[in-house]
Symmetry: C2
């Protein structure tokens, strides 16, 4: 309801913008102006006139000046001819009017504040009362083809931001600016975490030693949480005959998203887009007794999707995706315990980074059964099981109808990062369908075959995407335990080098990732270099430290420990690392 109100405000502001445009550019031709995420836009043909970001201020001022006159919308049904007369000379509106009339629909003109536009409706009834004049802002000018078709004329699109309140608007602008500063593509390069190569191609990141270290620390952490819960690592090849995906159902649903390989012997192989079908084969290779259940297989491995190159972006959308995947094969009466264990892991893991989690219950859409495997009764059972669980857990959830995987419903976890952005992260999927397709069973207490259930449970999901999230969440300043370099040692001059190397050696021997900067630069320059690299700690070594055989430890957030012993330094660092603090 709130969202609908906000959409109406945004749409109304598109009208208000159009009126301001006509005031300043009487010969401009209006085309279309809808509400969109975060605001609205209007596409305009300015004829020969060039309108740029510099013109936005005056248009915004005119919108504010006119708003008080926008007391109430009225509308009027008109005939095709009346409409065509009203927009005479505007070929865009003419095209729209004729289309509406040809479809036999009613043509409606909406008027407010003395301005009339062809429109489907969806406005604030009383704009001046409903819209805070400070809650919107014209954002930028861009080019856009009429109706998005590059064969058509290029129009000028004016984007506006609009929110319910000025506070929301300011928060959004702040978030946008912060996001720009935190862009993982920029920071990834500056911090030397990953690279792209022209020769290897777009969408295929290569991870440097520093980036690999962070990935491995994260992956080890997931394993540290999984291992005590009985998970076991397995290893599968990255390709398969297509028969595997014909059985799993992936071929029918996703064949065009797969990287396909024709072998020298003319067999058709595919690179794996998911790991579940391969993992079923390991489960199925032996007869399993109820005493062997559950079997919990974990594997961090790459999957591949043949994405369009226009869709690729930094680490967020790549062709080769590393998943920290896991599949639990269990009996129906084990679903609850297994799901709760995964939930625990997810809460612990994301909590460590300060992410707040929301839950979405991603169900199938009964109106499009062709999108899913299995019948209604199977879906009812699977969704019922997850619903029970969420109720038992006593949480509220967002209802995600139509958001299920094709083989089963999911509990999706939505995180909010440090600048308030919302991201989908981990997922728990309950799957009765693949076990059926692959004929997976265990022998139960009665000596009968009993079909098993699969739970799909990635924690980070895509490590690439999680890395991009984490880089932006921390603006590159990773917590101590995750920092590729934890401590930089900065000798003030040459004569401090030997003692500095001594400290370096001792830190390294204690498992601290330390580096020395014994270049001939000034201390100021060394400190700036370390800060650019967002290093958690600096150890400055000068005469005083050398004489007293101590160090001065400086944290990146104004934390300073002057003249402490090496042992004290180590205890301080160790404690933070072990507790994943910072």
């Amino acid at each position: 309801m709130e969202q609908e109100k906000l959409n109406n405000q945004r749409h109304t502001l598109a009208h208000l913008l159009a009126q301001a445009v006509i005031e300043h550019y009487p010969s401009a031709k209006l085309t279309l102006g809808p509400a969109v995420d975060n605001g609205f836009y209007y596409d305009i043909d300015f004829g020969g006139e060039k309108v740029t970001d510099a013109d936005l201020q005056k248009l915004e001022a005119t919108m504010r000046k006119n708003l008080p006159k926008w007391t109430a919308f009225t509308h009027q049904e008109v005939t095709r001819d009346e409409a065509l007369t009203q927009f005479d000379g505007n070929e865009y509106k003419t095209e729209l009017i004729n289309e509406i009339a040809d479809r036999g629909e009613t043509i409606i003109l909406y008027t407010c504040g003395g301005f009339t536009d062809l429109c489907r409706g969806g406005h604030s009834d009383h704009p001046v009362d409903e819209i805070d004049a400070e809650s919107f802002k014209l954002d930028r000018v861009a080019g856009a083809y009429w109706r998005g078709d590059e064969k058509n004329k290029m129009l000028t699109r004016i984007y506006g931001l609009a929110f319910a309140t000025k506070v929301d608007l300011d928060a959004f602008i702040f978030q946008q600016e912060e996001a720009k500063k935190r862009d993982h593509r920029k920071l990834g390069k500056e911090l030397g975490l990953f690279i792209f190569s022209e020769l290897v191609g777009p969408g295929l990141p290569l991870w440097t030693p520093k980036g690999t270290l962070v990935r491995e620390l994260l992956n080890d952490y997931v394993w540290e949480l999984r291992k005590p819960r009985g998970y076991q690592k397995v290893t599968i090849p990255h390709i398969t005959k297509k028969e595997l995906y014909e059985t799993s159902g992936h071929w029918a649903k996703y064949a065009e998203d797969l990287f396909k390989i024709k072998t020298r012997e003319d067999h058709l192989f595919a690179m794996k887009p998911m790991n579940c079908p391969h993992h079923t084969q390991i489960f199925d290779a032996e007869q399993r007794s109820y005493r062997d259940m559950p079997q919990r297989y974990a594997e961090t491995t790459m999957v591949y999707r043949d994405e369009q190159s226009g869709e690729l972006s930094g680490l967020s959308r790549v062709l080769s995706i590393t998943q920290d995947d896991a599949h639990v094969f269990c009996r129906e009466n084990q679903i609850e315990d297994e799901t709760m264990a995964i939930w625990d892991i997810i809460e612990t893991f994301y909590g460590t980074f300060g992410f707040k989690l929301q839950v979405r219950f991603s169900r199938h859409d009964p109106s499009t059964p062709e999108k899913y495997l299995g019948g209604e009764e199977v879906w009812a059972k699977a969704e019922g099981a997850l619903k029970n669980l969420m109720e038992k857990k006593g949480i509220t959830w967002i209802d995600g109808i139509g958001e299920a995987a094709f083989y089963g419903p999911k509990i999706d976890f939505i995180a909010r990062d440090s600048i308030g952005r919302v991201l989908q992260v981990a997922t728990i999927q309950l799957d009765f369908n693949q076990p059926k397709s692959f004929g997976l069973f265990c022998i139960n207490e009665q000596g009968e075959k009993e079909q098993v259930v699969m739970i799909h449970a990635a924690i980070m999901g895509s490590i690439e995407r999680f890395m991009s999230t984490l880089i932006e969440h921390y603006a590159g300043a990773f917590p101590l335990w995750l920092s590729p370099v934890q401590v930089a040692i900065l000798p003030i001059s040459d004569k401090h080098s030997e003692y500095a190397r001594d400290v370096l050696g001792k830190l390294k021997a204690s498992g601290i990732r330390a580096e020395i900067d014994d270049s001939r630069e000034s201390l100021g320059k060394k400190i700036r270099a370390a800060k650019t690299q967002k290093l958690p700690y600096l150890i400055v070594i000068g005469d005083k430290e050398m004489e007293s055989q101590t160090v001065t430890l400086e944290g990146r957030n104004d934390e300073k420990h002057e003249g402490i012993t090496f042992d004290a330094t180590l205890i301080l660092l160790r404690e933070k690392i072990d507790n994943k603090n910072n």
Copy 2:
């Protein structure tokens, strides 16, 4: 020289076999009978007669009976017509004679012990003096098409084993029988280490939790040896645009062995057959100063080769190969230190398993320059560097002319396993060519660009192949530190279960991989099951142990510690694990 003498003996035995065949089957038509690895064969057209393994004994006896008459070979040059008359009615020899004559070559008939055959020569001059009658054995009968062409008639091939001495023959037969018992395909299944799936396809092993554990322990061990030597892990995608391999030279040399992918946008990608080209891109992403050198990148990752399915065999030949790969980018004056460091790792690693290593110096063949990148002077420099190094190390090496990689010479390590088989394992490759193709340099002390050198250094090489080697080397009885299950706990009856579970919990908490067998089977059966699984240790728990709160620890090799405390058990196991003993 020894080898030539042995080949002559083997070839002579093929003649001796042919004579015996004609004695028993006068209408048999002889075709061709060469020396081969481990012995010889003769392909024979027996007409309607069926000859099987059961007939070999009598043929072998006849060979032994005739050998004393084989005092000396004589030979005689004959005309085409003379030869055709000699072999009248034998269409195979007729075909061979006409070919030799058409090429304008001399036709020679060799005679010994009253038996004459068409032949190129290469015999023992005095068979009865040179050949030990007990040093050969007819091995088996197989089918073989005339001249290996399936369009031709199927002949009967009789294989013989032949060695310089009876001791060598017996050793070989023992080795063959042992090898059959140790076959990793059989043991891999019995021990539940890896599986193949019909749906995934041949040549694509899937690793169970147990197999994955062994792989990971091995890989961790390599890393344990690399880490203190300054190696850093990196991570690359498994695919690339073909441009990367055009630059590296792989496309020109190996395009047909690559798995190729046509993307939805019609770009040509390949799955990586090697990791070096990708690793160059990480090195090349930043400008490197001489102070940054060497850069040592390590990565355990899969590579892919489009092998013919007929070539695939267990883990020895697969389509997806896991390599524990590393590339060192260094300056020329760092080659020695870096190579010696790798050599140390290889010696330590293989020494742990009791493999004895020999070295082969794999050089390029100057007579086939088209097989290699780079000119003679580059090869002279690279080969000179490796030769110096081997001399410094004071070892003898096998000369492997023509065994180099296409980009540089190698030091190959050849291991001898527990049953005396010889296998190529680790390799150190020196590469001046790829750094040139990719333009890899560092800025030296003079501020100039200096081309770097690459050292390729896999320790296990293919983990799949190394696993097959290790399984067969140990006949599946992995040393304690590598065993997926280290200790089986066997309570004698139900009333011992609780104490047994107690011991299990304590072992697990101490990081020992233990399992309990509390099935209702007899103790004898439980012990047999544990022995079949080749478990290193059993703990039997009965009344005595329960009363005294001790355990009885039994090793698989008659080792027995009766009634020892839990702490003593732990110390004993821990010491062996930490020292990689057993």
